[in-house]
């Protein structure tokens, strides 16, 4: 059985200056296997600076691991060339956090959809392309005539983020990396977008790596979860188990701090043992 993606012992160290001794270990000996024929949704959670985006960038091939390797369909992604590389580019896609920054402000939002169609030769004719775009937009609940031909700033955040999801739909990737796709979106829209993502997974068998710091949505979207703390995996497993019964102290603190919109689910139910252990995890707060 072949694996779609395999991450083997990947460590990423950011070097500040050329001579600087201060190196930042953003991700430590990370391992992950995503099988090809069993698409799933995997959540990577963790507080700010824990290495989530670094992981996404590694998988997308935008940065190279310091040690370890990332295999796509059994091949190291840094060595991919020609058609294989094109296939990798096409099959591994992303939805990013900021629904504004992904649009080139110079072009209308169509650009986001037409470029991949052209580059990956997804359509036989202009008409075909237009049909495909309409189809994808409709699938995420947008009316094509409402959004096409507009500039990014003329659309709302929700609309923009859904166009992003539509782009992923259009490309029907094998692997979708969603790096905090709803953190900049209104609470009331989150549900809509996550729903689209889930549909994508269900209807097209797309494997999704859902990156978030928001455990509430993670809990709802994912099958399995990996919790990162300063580049280290502190806990991983089935979502239900991890959220309901966290083992690691950090995970417990995290889960306990989730503001559930539920009057019976108040903060402090899984109480943290002592103030000290909380202080231990006070993320990055310099002592005065």
């Amino acid at each position: 059985m072949s694996n779609l993606l395999e991450i083997r012992n990947v460590t990423k160290v950011y070097q500040r200056g050329l001579l600087s001794a201060h190196a930042k270990v953003a991700l430590k000996e990370f391992n992950l296997i995503l099988p090809e024929n069993d698409p799933s949704i995997l959540t990577v959670a963790g507080e700010s600076g824990s290495g989530k985006t670094t992981l996404a960038m590694l998988v997308l091939g935008f940065i190279t691991p310091t040690t370890g390797e990332i295999l796509y369909r059994g091949k190291n992604i840094t060595t991919l060339r020609g058609a294989e590389r094109m296939a990798y580019r096409r099959e591994v896609q992303a939805v990013f956090q900021d629904p504004f920054a992904v649009f080139n402000p110079f072009y209308t939002v169509d650009h986001l959809l037409t470029v991949p169609i052209k580059q990956f030769k997804l359509a036989k004719s202009g008409k075909d392309a237009r049909n495909k775009m309409d189809e994808a937009l409709t699938a995420v609940g947008l009316r094509p005539e409402d959004v096409l031909g507009r500039f990014p700033h003329q659309l709302s955040g929700g609309q923009r983020q859904r166009i992003n999801v539509a782009r992923a739909l259009l490309l029907k990737p094998k692997l979708l990396i969603a790096d905090e796709p709803v953190s900049m979106v209104d609470a009331s829209l989150r549900a809509n977008i996550l729903e689209s993502l889930k549909n994508l997974h269900r209807d097209h068998g797309v494997t999704i790596i859902y990156i978030t710091h928001d455990l509430t949505t993670a809990y709802h979207v994912a099958d399995t979860i990996t919790v990162l703390y300063r580049g280290d995996v502190v806990e991983k497993g089935d979502v239900e188990t991890v959220i309901r019964n966290p083992q690691h102290a950090y995970t417990r603190l995290l889960v306990d701090s989730i503001p559930w919109p539920n009057l019976d689910q108040k903060w402090g139910q899984h109480s943290v043992r002592s103030k000290e252990s909380q202080a231990e995890f006070k993320a990055n707060a310099p002592t005065p």
């Binding site: 507080e47 700010s48 609940g141 709302s156 955040g157 929700g158 609309q159 209104d186 609470a187 009331s188 829209l189 989150r190 549900a191 809509n192 977008i193 996550l194 729903e195 889930k198 710091h213 928001d214 455990l215 509430t216 949505t217 809990y219 709802h220 239900e240 959220i243 309901r244 603190l253 995290l254 701090s257 989730i258 503001p259 559930w260 919109p261 539920n262 009057l263 689910q265 108040k266 903060w267 402090g268 139910q269 109480s271 909380q278 995890f281 006070k282 993320a283 990055n284 707060a285 310099p286 005065p288």
Partner: protein, 339 residues
């Protein structure tokens, strides 16, 4: 243990409910005059709040939450304009004050803790200086010692080491900065505190610490707190009352319990049911359609295009605010007859 505190708070709130409100907002109207047209960002908002109460203010982005806060502070800047309404704080009508009077009222009567504390502190002066600044602008007669004591008290109230006094903003973490802002906000023990999304940029753990700080401070001052945000979870965790805004109007105000168990307005209902909880894993129910643009609001009830219960009347007539038993406010035609 925490539940117990909540119980305490609610009983205290119940007691306070009888008292006369410390904050009264009436028919506040704000319009932004933009190139593309007039945007009525606040359309006759009225509510009251008693001392010691915490009210959450939720609503989609652009629904006018920050505008409301700024309007209460009389800090709407061009192209915006306050076009009507009153804000009473403890018997003073802020709209009737002259500019100097309003300046004095800020911070001493009504304090605003801004959205994005990350950038709200002057990067080139020490935190202490910024605190002293604020005190001196209001209490000219205060002695050095008194000023110092006040600052130390405020910093301690928000769980910060008094050493912060001598630090610069860039030396603090996000949570600390947010707490410094709160400390500045309470320096003059204002009667009303408005916090605009104080936690949206923080991660969950810090978020919780900040909310607990606000709680604690309020206990000490017994002022009325308005917390703006769009995270229903946060509201459920910390607030006494929740106000829901939609397109510049207040569509529902209710206690937290009522809001989560029995939302009245169709928008509130949709909002509540779209929330993920531990019990409904994997089910999503978004609100269909899109938020309207303030520039071209739908006629009648602004929510009608997305409302499953919309009637012909919703399409043509703006619903007025109905007062339901227990002081609940709902702006929907459905409840017209009940009042």
């Amino acid at each position: 243990m925490n539940l117990a505190t909540t119980e305490n708070a609610s009983s205290r709130n119940a007691a306070a409910a009888g008292a006369s409100p410390i904050l009264r907002v009436q028919d506040l109207v704000v319009t932004y005059y933009t190139d593309l047209g007039r945007a009525r960002a606040l359309d006759g908002v009225s509510f009251t709040l008693e001392a010691g109460m915490k009210m959450g203010m939720v609503g989609e982005s652009g629904s006018g939450k920050s505008t409301l806060a700024l309007a209460m502070m009389r800090m709407i800047k061009p192209p915006g304009r306050i076009e009507g309404g009153h804000v009473w704080v403890g018997g003073t009508d802020l709209q009737s004050l002259d500019d100097e009077g309003m300046r004095k009222a800020r911070l001493s009567k009504i304090a605003y803790i801004p959205q994005g504390a990350m950038n709200s502190l002057n990067p080139v002066t020490r935190i202490g200086e910024q605190m002293v600044d604020a005190i001196k602008s209001h209490l000219s007669g205060e002695s050095r010692q008194a000023i110092n004591d006040r600052c130390v008290w405020a910093l301690k109230s928000v769980d910060l080491d008094p050493g912060v006094f001598h630090m610069y903003a860039h030396e603090l973490s996000g949570g600390m900065k947010q707490r410094v802002c709160i400390a500045i906000g309470i320096l003059l023990r204002p009667e009303v505190i408005i916090a605009d999304e104080p936690t949206s940029a923080l991660d969950v753990v810090t978020q919780r610490q900040v909310m607990e700080t606000i709680d604690k401070v309020q206990d000490e001052l017994n002022s009325a707190v308005i917390l703006i945000g769009h995270d229903m979870g946060l509201m459920a965790q910390t607030m006494d009352r929740v106000a829901v805004m939609y397109a510049g109007r207040l569509v529902e105000v209710a206690t937290v319990r009522e809001m989560f168990t029995d939302p009245k307005h169709p928008y509130s209902q949709a909002l509540i049911s779209s929330l993920p909880t531990l019990d409904n894993r994997g089910q999503f129910k978004g609100i269909p359609g899109l938020a309207p643009s303030l520039l071209r609001l739908p006629s009648g009830c602004a929510f009608h295009p997305r409302c499953p219960l919309a009637s012909d009347r919703s399409r043509s007539e703006k619903p007025k605010v109905n007062v339901l038993p227990g002081g609940r406010l709902v702006a929907c035609h459905i409840y017209d007859q009940e009042s």
